[in-house]
C-alpha cells in the first residue's frame, strides 16, 4: 500500500503526526486531515460494502454528499455508526471500522447478492418475500437484518452530554464561501447582528481550494473577526428551516476529539431566530450514470480537487476526468500539476475553448467523448454516438455531471424551486419567508461572481432588518463566464449504472418503477428507495429524476424533485434532546417539606411533576408494612401528611361568589364566612373536571383548592371564563399554590395534638366544627386551619407560609408525640381514601359525570353552571351508566386488581364495568376496591365476578357501598 500524499501543499500540518486505526490497522495522518483524506493518503481504496449488493465501494466525495464511506467510530459506549469519513476530523487515537461487510471487508459472503442481482431489483422486498410465509421468520428476516446492517449502535448509555442553545440575530448567513463571507461582512458592517454558520471546521468554502484568492480570504476573515456584532460558528451545520424564520443546526463541539473535555458537551443543538436569512449553501456536484460508476476509484471531480489542494493527496496514479461542464478542467489541471502518470479529460461537449489551455499543461483532451464503463483498472472511452470503445488504463475516474445549487434550506422555508435550463438544475424560487439565496446556492458560480452576489444579499438583508450601509470592502474581480454545459445524465452501456450508491439504486430500477406504474417522482422514490439514504441521494437525485423523465417521455423539469424536508443531514436524537434527558427530562417540583422527608427516610416517588413521600419505612419493614403502620396510626391515633401539592387559588372581589357559583355545580354564595365546602366542577360537556374544598375567608375572599394534577388546568379554565365569557364580573384571582405549604393532621387524636400546638384558635367541636375555617399561630407562625378530612377520620388541614413549613411541621410532631403521631405518605393516604370511598384520579377520569360518582344531587336547582346543560344529555343522564360502587372479594383471602372487568358470570364476555382503585384494607383485613359498574346502585349486595385475563384470574366479588368505613360520616364530626 503506497502513500498517496503529495510532497507538499494542502492545509494540513505536516509537522505533526496523528495515529488512528481503520479495521484494526494502525495508520497515520496529519492535523487538518479528515478520516477520508487520511485513508486516501494511506492508499486505502476500499472502505465499505454497498447496502444491497455488497459491492466494494471507495471514497467518492470530500463532504456531506458522501454515499459510500460510512464508518463506525470509537468503541464501547461511544461507538457510533454511519459516520461519513469525509466529514470526520482526524484526531489522535481515532478508532474506525468499515460497515456492512461480513465477515470482513475484503471477503464479503453477501457479495453473492451481486450475482443474484435480478432478484434484488426495485420493489424486491414487496415481491420476493411474500411467499412461502413460513420462510419469513426463519430465513428471510434474519438474512435481511444481517445484510441490511448499516453499522452497529452502542448498546450502553451514552456517557456524553448535549445541550440546546437559542440565538437571535438580524442576519443569519448559512455557508462561509465567497458569497457567505461577503454577505456576513456587508451586513455586519452595516451594524446588524450577524451569525455566520459553517459546517466545516475551516471558514471559506470554495475559497479553500482557490490559491489565487488567499489574500482576499484572509482579509475577509480578519475583518469579520474584528466585528463585535458578528459571530462565526464553525462545525455548525444548519439542518432545518422552519416557520417564522427559525433555523435548526448542529454544532459538533467535541467530535474532533477522542472524548469531550471535562464539562464540555459533545454536540450542541442550536436554534436561530433570524430577522433575515442569507443562504450561501453552495452547490453539489452531480453524478453521471454509467456502468461501474460505483467502483472504488470513481470520485467526484470537485472532491478530487479538494483532496489535491486542501489535503495534499493524489487519490490515483492515472486519471480520467469525465465532464459536461467547465468546472472539472480545474481538477484535470490540478491532477497534471500533481504529477500523475496520465491525465485524460473526456468532455461530452463537442467543443471547448479550454481544451488548448489544459492540453498545454499535459492533459490529454478528448472532446465529444463519453465514458462507457469502468472496472477499477481501466476506463472505456468512446466517441458519443459510437459503440466502439477504447480502454485507457486509469485507476481514478473523476465525474462531473454539472452542479446542483443546494436549495434544500430555501425549499424547506417554503420557496418553490425553479428549473434553470442553463444549469440543468433547480434554483430557489420566490422567497416565502425572510430569506434570500446567494452565490452558487442560486446558480451564481465563480469566486468573484459569488462574492459580489453575496455582498448584495448581505446588504439587502441588513437593510430589511433596519441597518443601512453600502459594502465598503474590495471584492474579487468577476472572471470569465463559463461555457454552457450540455445536460448529460447517463451513458447507456452494459452493466449496472447507479443513480443512488448508498441504496444501490440503478438506472434500470428507475425504469422498472416506471414500467410498474410508479411514474410519479414521489412514488418512484419510495418504490426504489432512491435518495432515501443518509446522504439523501445528493449525488444522483436529479439523475434519477432525469431517467424517470426520459421513461415518461417528458422533460426533466416536468418530473420535479421530491419535497425537501428537514433534516438535511442525519442528526442524533440525543443531540436534539440536548440536556433534557434522565433527571433533566422534565421539571421536578419539590414541596417546602422535601428536605425534611429526605432526612427522615421517606421513599420518594415521582407523581406527576412532584416528588412525594410514598411512605416512611422503618428499619426492617418490607412490602405493605410501613403503609399499614402509618394508616393504623391515623385510624387509631394521629398522623401528619404533606399535602402541599394541592392547587390553591386565591379568589377575591365583589363577584367572587357569583363566579364560583358558575364554576361549581353547588353554591358558594350561600357559604358562611369562616366555613369551607366541598365542590365539584364540570367541563362544559358535562363531564367532571375537578373537585376540592373552597373556603370563605371574607365576604369577598375565597380560597379554592384543586386536585394536585389539575392545579394548572383549573386556573386556566377560570381565566378563560373570567376573561372571555364573563368579563363583566369583578373578580381577581391568582395561584397561591407555592405560597402555602399544607399538611393534613388526621386521626382521633388530631384535635388534642393541634390543641397543644395552636395558639389563638379554639378547637373544641362546637367552636370549630366540621368544615370550619380559622386562623391561629403554631410556633409563632400564622397559619390557616381547615377542618376537613380525606381519610375519613377527625382531621384538619393546616396551611403555612411555605418558608416556615418545617417549623410548623416539627411543632405539630412534637405536640403529637404523646399520642404516637407518625408522618404518613401517599400510599397510606390512598389506602384510607379507598376505604372511605372518596373519588380521586382513577374515578375523575374524564369519562364520569357527577351522577356516575354518586354526586348528582349536588347540582343546584337553578342558575348558570358550566356543564349543566350538556350533563343533561340523555346519554350522560342514563341511569344505567357505570356508577361508583364499592367492591370486596367473597373469599377474603383473594386479591383484587385495578383494571379488572366486572362480569355477571365467569367466562362472560360482557363487561359491566371495571375496578378503578384497590387497596388492602386495614379495617376489613382484605382487599377492597372502588369500581364503576353499570346499574351499580341496584347491584349492591349482589355477587359478581372480577376477571383479569392478563393474570388469568376470576374472583367472586360483592358489590357494596363505596364507603367501606364509617358510611354515616360520624368520625369526621366527632
Amino acid at each position: 500500500m503506497t502513500s498517496r500524499r503529495l510532497p507538499s501543499g494542502g492545509l494540513i500540518d505536516r509537522s505533526k503526526t496523528i495515529r488512528f486505526s481503520f479495521d484494526g490497522r494502525e495508520l497515520s495522518g496529519h492535523p487538518g486531515d479528515t478520516l477520508a483524506s487520511a485513508l486516501l493518503a494511506n492508499g486505502v481504496r476500499l472502505v465499505g460494502r454497498s447496502f444491497k449488493y455488497h459491492r466494494p465501494r471507495g471514497i467518492m466525495t470530500a463532504g456531506p454528499d458522501e454515499p459510500n464511506a460510512l464508518v463506525e467510530l470509537r468503541e464501547g459506549a461511544r461507538r457510533e455508526p454511519n459516520s461519513k469519513a469525509t466529514e470526520i476530523e482526524l484526531h489522535d487515537g481515532l478508532v474506525s471500522r468499515s460497515q456492512n461487510r461480513w465477515p470482513s471487508l475484503a471477503f464479503d459472503v453477501l457479495a453473492l447478492n451481486a450475482l443474484a442481482g435480478k432478484a434484488l431489483s426495485a420493489g424486491f422486498y414487496y415481491k420476493t418475500f411474500m411467499w412461502p410465509k413460513r420462510f419469513w421468520e426463519k430465513l428471510y428476516e434474519p438474512l435481511i437484518r444481517r445484510a441490511a446492517g448499516l453499522g452497529r449502535a452502542a448498546t450502553e448509555a451514552d456517557p456524553d452530554h448535549y445541550e440546546a442553545m437559542h440565538a437571535h440575530c438580524d442576519v443569519l448567513v448559512v455557508g462561509s464561501g465567497p458569497a457567505g463571507l461577503a454577505a456576513a461582512r456587508a451586513a455586519g458592517e452595516a451594524g446588524a447582528r450577524v451569525i455566520l454558520c459553517e459546517r466545516d471546521v475551516l471558514i471559506g468554502g470554495g475559497l479553500l481550494l482557490c490559491p489565487d484568492h488567499q489574500a482576499w480570504h484572509a482579509d475577509m476573515l480578519a475583518a469579520l473577526r474584528a466585528l463585535p456584532n458578528v459571530e462565526i460558528l464553525p462545525r455548525t451545520n444548519v439542518f432545518g428551516y422552519y416557520d417564522h424564520n427559525l433555523l435548526g443546526a448542529l454544532e459538533q463541539v467535541a467530535d474532533h476529539r477522542r472524548e469531550p473535555g471535562e464539562h464540555e458537551v459533545r454536540q450542541r443543538y442550536r436554534t436561530f431566530r433570524a430577522r433575515q436569512v442569507v443562504l450561501a449553501t453552495g452547490a453539489s456536484e452531480r453524478l453521471i450514470a454509467l456502468p461501474g460508476n460505483d467502483r472504488p476509484g470513481v470520485m467526484m471531480a470537485g472532491a478530487v480537487l479538494a483532496y489535491l489542494r486542501r489535503f495534499g493527496v493524489a487519490p490515483g496514479e492515472n486519471a480520467v476526468v469525465f465532464t459536461n461542464n467547465d468546472s472539472a478542467y480545474d481538477t484535470a489541471l490540478a491532477l497534471a500539476e500533481a504529477g500523475l502518470g496520465r491525465v485524460t479529460l473526456a468532455d461530452a461537449r463537442p467543443q471547448s475553448e479550454l481544451a488548448g489551455v489544459v492540453a498545454a499543461r499535459g492533459v490529454e483532451v478528448r472532446l465529444g467523448t463519453e465514458v462507457a464503463g469502468f472496472d477499477g483498472k481501466s476506463v472505456m472511452l468512446r466517441q458519443r454516438g459510437s459503440s466502439i470503445g477504447e480502454p485507457i488504463v486509469a485507476d481514478l475516474l473523476c465525474l462531473s455531471g454539472g452542479w446542483n445549487p443546494n436549495v434544500q434550506l430555501a425549499s424547506q422555508s417554503g420557496a418553490k424551486t425553479q428549473w434553470n435550463a442553463e444549469l440543468a438544475s433547480h434554483v430557489p424560487g420566490e422567497p416565502v419567508q425572510a430569506e434570500r439565496s446567494a452565490g452558487a446556492a442560486r446558480g451564481i458560480f465563480g469566486i468573484g461572481a459569488a462574492a459580489h452576489d453575496g455582498a448584495r444579499a448581505g446588504e439587502a438583508a441588513a437593510s430589511a432588518s433596519g441597518f443601512e450601509g453600502k459594502p465598503g470592502f474590495a471584492l474579487p474581480h468577476i472572471g470569465r463566464s463559463e461555457q454552457p454545459l450540455v445536460p448529460f445524465w447517463e451513458v447507456k452501456a452494459d452493466g449496472k449504472s447507479f443513480v443512488d450508491l448508498q441504496h444501490d439504486v440503478t438506472t434500470e430500477d428507475i425504469r422498472l418503477a416506471h414500467r410498474e406504474g410508479y411514474a410519479h417522482i414521489e412514488h418512484a422514490k419510495r418504490y426504489t428507495t432512491h435518495a432515501m439514504a443518509t446522504d439523501q441521494g445528493k449525488l444522483g437525485s436529479l439523475v434519477g429524476a432525469a431517467i424517470l423523465a426520459e421513461a415518461r417521455g417528458e422533460p426533466v423539469e416536468a418530473v420535479g424533485v421530491p419535497t425537501h424536508r428537514p433534516y438535511t443531514m442525519p442528526v442524533a436524537v440525543g443531540a436534539l434532546a440536548g440536556h433534557a434527558s434522565g433527571a433533566h427530562f422534565q421539571p421536578i417540583r419539590r414541596t417546602a417539606l422535601h428536605d425534611w422527608h429526605l432526612r427522615n427516610g421517606a421513599a420518594m416517588q415521582p407523581t406527576g411533576a412532584w416528588l412525594r413521600p410514598f411512605f416512611y419505612p422503618k428499619p426492617g419493614e418490607t412490602g405493605w408494612e410501613p403503609i399499614f403502620r402509618e394508616a393504623r396510626a391515623v385510624r387509631s391515633a394521629v398522623g401528619i401528611c404533606d399535602v402541599s401539592t394541592l392547587g390553591k387559588i386565591d379568589v377575591q372581589g365583589p363577584d367572587a361568589a357569583t363566579f364560583l357559583d358558575r364554576l361549581y355545580i353547588n353554591n358558594f354564595s350561600t357559604l358562611a364566612v369562616g366555613k369551607c365546602r366541598y365542590g365539584v366542577m364540570l367541563r362544559e360537556d358535562g363531564i367532571v373536571f375537578d373537585d376540592g374544598t373552597t373556603s370563605r375567608l371574607g365576604e369577598d375572599h375565597f380560597v379554592v383548592t384543586t386536585t394536585t394534577g389539575n392545579a394548572a388546568p383549573v386556573l386556566e379554565h377560570m381565566e378563560f371564563h373570567a376573561q372571555t365569557v364573563w368579563p363583566e364580573l369583578d373578580v381577581q384571582f391568582c395561584s397561591i399554590s407555592d405560597q402555602w405549604a399544607q399538611m393534613a393532621v388526621a386521626g382521633p387524636k388530631s384535635r388534642e395534638t393541634l390543641a397543644a400546638a395552636v395558639e389563638g384558635l379554639e378547637l373544641a367541636n362546637e367552636a370549630f366544627p366540621f368544615m370550619a375555617v380559622g386562623e391561629g399561630r403554631i410556633a409563632g407562625v400564622p397559619v390557616r386551619l381547615f377542618r376537613i378530612s380525606f381519610s375519613g377520620e377527625l382531621a384538619y388541614e393546616v396551611a403555612v407560609p411555605s418558608s416556615q413549613a418545617e417549623t410548623v411541621w416539627e411543632a405539630i410532631l412534637a405536640a403529637g408525640k404523646p399520642f404516637g403521631i407518625v408522618p404518613y405518605g401517599l400510599e397510606a393516604m390512598s389506602l384510607m381514601r379507598v376505604e372511605k370511598g372518596h373519588a380521586a384520579g382513577p374515578e375523575l377520569n374524564g369519562q364520569t359525570t357527577a351522577a356516575d360518582l354518586g354526586m348528582g344531587r349536588m347540582m343546584k336547582k337553578a342558575g348558570d353552571v358550566i356543564g349543566r346543560v350538556l350533563a343533561g344529555r340523555p346519554g350522560l343522564a342514563d341511569p344505567g351508566r357505570p356508577r361508583l360502587v364499592g367492591i370486596r372479594p367473597v373469599d377474603a383471602a383473594q386479591r383484587l386488581r385495578g383494571g379488572a372487568h366486572i362480569v355477571g358470570e365467569p367466562g362472560s364476555g360482557t363487561s359491566l364495568g371495571w375496578i378503578s382503585s384497590v387497596t388492602q384494607s386495614i379495617e376489613h383485613k382484605c382487599w377492597i376496591g372502588l369500581a364503576l359498574v353499570e346499574n351499580g346502585e341496584s347491584l349492591k349486595g349482589q355477587r359478581l365476578f372480577a376477571v383479569s385475563p392478563l393474570h388469568e384470574e376470576s374472583v367472586a366479588v360483592t358489590i357494596t357501598s363505596p364507603h367501606h368505613v364509617d358510611p354515616e360520616n360520624a368520625r369526621v364530626r366527632a
Binding site: 422552519y242 416557520d243 417564522h244 427559525l246 436554534t271 431566530r273 417554503g414 416565502v432 362544559e684 360537556d685 394548572a712 386556566e716 381565566e719 378563560f720 376573561q723 372571555t724 365569557v725 368579563p727 342558575g863 348558570d864 353552571v865 349543566r868 346543560v869 350538556l870 343533561g872 344529555r873
Partner: protein, 91 residues
C-alpha cells in the same frame, strides 16, 4: 417553533402558549338549550386559511388571546386581548 404575537408581551415562542382552538364560537345564554351548547362545544368549521383562535399565554401574561392565524401557512395576521375584537377581515 412558531411565534405568536402577544399584544402585551410582544412576539413569543409558541411553547409559552396553550391552544384552545376556535375563538368564533361564543358561549350561549344558560337557557339557550342543548343544541346551542352542543354547537358551542363541538361544532367546528375547521377552515383552511384564516382562523380566529384562542391562545392562552400561560407562561407570560396569562391572557387568553384571540389570534388570527392562517392554518395553511401559519402566518399570523393579528392578535388582541381577550375582551377585544379582531379586525373585520384579513385579505
Amino acid at each position: 417553533m412558531h411565534l405568536i404575537p402577544c399584544p402585551y408581551c410582544g412576539e413569543r415562542p409558541q411553547d409559552e402558549f396553550h391552544y384552545r382552538g376556535d375563538a368564533t364560537v361564543t358561549r350561549p345564554a344558560p337557557d339557550a338549550g342543548e343544541q346551542a351548547f352542543y354547537d358551542y362545544v363541538y361544532t367546528r368549521a375547521n377552515p383552511r386559511g384564516w382562523h380566529d383562535e384562542w391562545w392562552h399565554h400561560y407562561a407570560g401574561c396569562r391572557q387568553w388571546l384571540k389570534v388570527r392565524r392562517n392554518t395553511l401557512t401559519h402566518a399570523v395576521a393579528a392578535s388582541v386581548g381577550p375582551a377585544d375584537a379582531l379586525p373585520e377581515a384579513t385579505p
